[in-house]
Amino acid sequence: MRNIWTIARREYNHYFTSPIAYVVAFVILLTLGFIFGLVVYGASQAAISGGFGGGAPAAPGIDWMGSTFNFLLMLTIPALTMRLVSDENRTGTMELLLTAPLRDWELIIGKWLGGFLFVLTILAVTVIYPIILNSLETPGLDQRLMMATYLSVILLSAAYLALGVGISSVFSNQIAAMFATLGLFIFLWWLIGFPASYLQSSADVFNYLSTSTHLNSIYSGTLNLSDIIYFLSLTALGLFTGTAAIETRRWN
């Protein structure tokens, strides 16, 4: 466990010296801030004009947050994970780690944890938006939806980061790792829906494999066990791929 922490801490600290991580944090926070501003502005305009159809205007919710997060994480996590393992392969420092008293899975989990803690740090900053909305409105936000949204974002980050680390372990080139990761995310979110709509008989299988199915179910405010299991399975798959890639490298 200490080894995992040693690796994770190094990666976490490394993010704060890397321009990519700042750009990622900037993109996520700026986009959310922009949309937050639009939501509040739109609601205030609606309130001034008395709303549509004469009824009381709806208070702005946070239903926009989940899908925005998914989109942002899909685009930015490949940039956070691309160098995690591939760079060690490229610079030869992998030889250092593989001859240190460190199990291969400890290395991979440590790398993943470093990225996860960094994403959690960014997520912690974004909590300010729901808090502001909550204080602006009566009776306040839908607490259930807010918890579900953040839980889904945390699970989604864990899964995306693990897949990113797994793919990064296969490559020794960061750019290749980034595009492969991005491609996988787009596939899981969008492209996998096509076979589902054409192959009626096995649609359930494809739908289950798609991130958007599970995200939609969470955005509706209900959190099913099957959704949680789905994201945890993706996380395990990513970490397993990473460990297997390192093992394979040893044998070659």
């Binding site: 030889e95 780690l97 001859t99 240190a100 460190l102």
Partner: protein, 310 residues
């Protein structure tokens, strides 16, 4: 200590190590000499638990490198050929990271102490990327020493260092070698002679010679080689030299000089000088040529072939 028996490593079709066996005891510094691609790095990578062998066994510090890899890795310090450094870390941070991975208590103190050992205490807070090649080499060495390992494996530890640093690093290695086992690879024969108790010469994945540097030297310098240069054409010079008794292996060197060999104790240089001058050549230079490592290899592999034929 290190004990290697019948080690074999295949990279696909290519056999990198074929039946390699040797031992290195405690308090011994063993030098690994060999041309590029001979299998030095492969052997070291197997001994450090980086990769498993195809066949054969290796025991390092009392543990098997395949079945007890983690125990081996705890007890081995390794400096790979391409020094593995994080250039965006400070020297002391990097060493602290390595000390943490080795679960050393007070890792920060140990990092400073080890930097002092390799003479880099005044660059502790420099980014590794800003250090010179020699300094990086020393940071790499510090990383291998930080946990005071029982066995130290160094792949070309003095490459890229200036002469002063080479002496320092050799002293560090010699000091460590008093109580521990050191296996180091080098291209430089004189380095092996200066610091190693024993030298293994490896070629094509096999050990072709194993002896103390002194014995090896004596065996190899079975003859003395001389370079001869004359003004103008050296045509016919080789033929002339071959007529003199005791001269062997006459070669025309690419720079226009002629090289020949004679057995020790049968110095034929006076006869050569006389013969050259009386034949009308103008003698410019006659000097002994030291044996380079490459020539020693050629010599050794040739010996190998002869023994094979017998």
């Amino acid at each position: 200590m290190i004990r290697v028996e019948g080690l074999i490593k295949d990279y696909g079709e290519r056999r990198a190590l074929s039946d390699l066996s040797f031992e290195a005891g405690q308090g011994e510094i063993v030098g690994f000499l060999g041309p590029n691609g001979a299998g030095k790095t492969t052997t070291m990578r197997i001994l450090t638990g980086y990769m498993p062998p195809t066949d054969g066994s290796a025991v390092v510090a009392g543990y098997d490198v395949v079945t007890e890899s983690l125990e081996v890795r705890k007890r081995v310090g390794y400096l790979p050929e391409t020094v593995p450094l994080y250039t965006d870390m400070r020297a002391v941070e990097y060493l602290k990271f390595m000390a943490d991975l080795r679960q050393i208590p007070d890792s920060a103190d140990r990092a400073y102490d080890t930097l002092e050992m390799v003479g880099l205490e005044n660059r502790a807070n420099s980014f590794i990327g800003s250090l010179s090649k020699g300094m990086r080499q020393r940071v790499g060495l510090a990383q291998a020493l930080i946990h005071q390992p029982e066995v130290l494996i160094l792949d070309e530890p003095t490459i890229g260092l200036d002469p002063g640093q080479v002496v320092e690093i050799r002293n560090v290695i010699r000091e460590i070698g008093k109580q521990r086992t050191v296996l180091l690879s080098t291209h430089i024969l004189s380095e092996a002679q200066q610091i190693c108790d024993r030298v293994l010469i490896i070629n094509k994945g096999k050990i072709v010679a194993e002896d103390t540097p002194e014995n090896l030297q004596a065996r190899l310098v079975g003859s003395e080689r001389v370079s001869l240069r004359v003004r103008g054409d050296s045509d016919g010079l080789a033929k002339l030299l071959l007529k003199i008794k005791g001269i062997q292996n006459v070669d025309n060197a690419p720079d226009g000089s002629v090289e020949f060999q004679f057995a020790p104790g049968q110095d034929v240089r006076p006869q050569v000088a006389k013969a050259v001058v009386t034949s009308g050549y103008e003698l410019l230079e006659m000097r002994p040529v030291g044996m380079s490592l490459e020539e020693i290899f050629l010599e050794l592999t040739r010996e190998d072939v002869h023994q094979g034929k017998k």
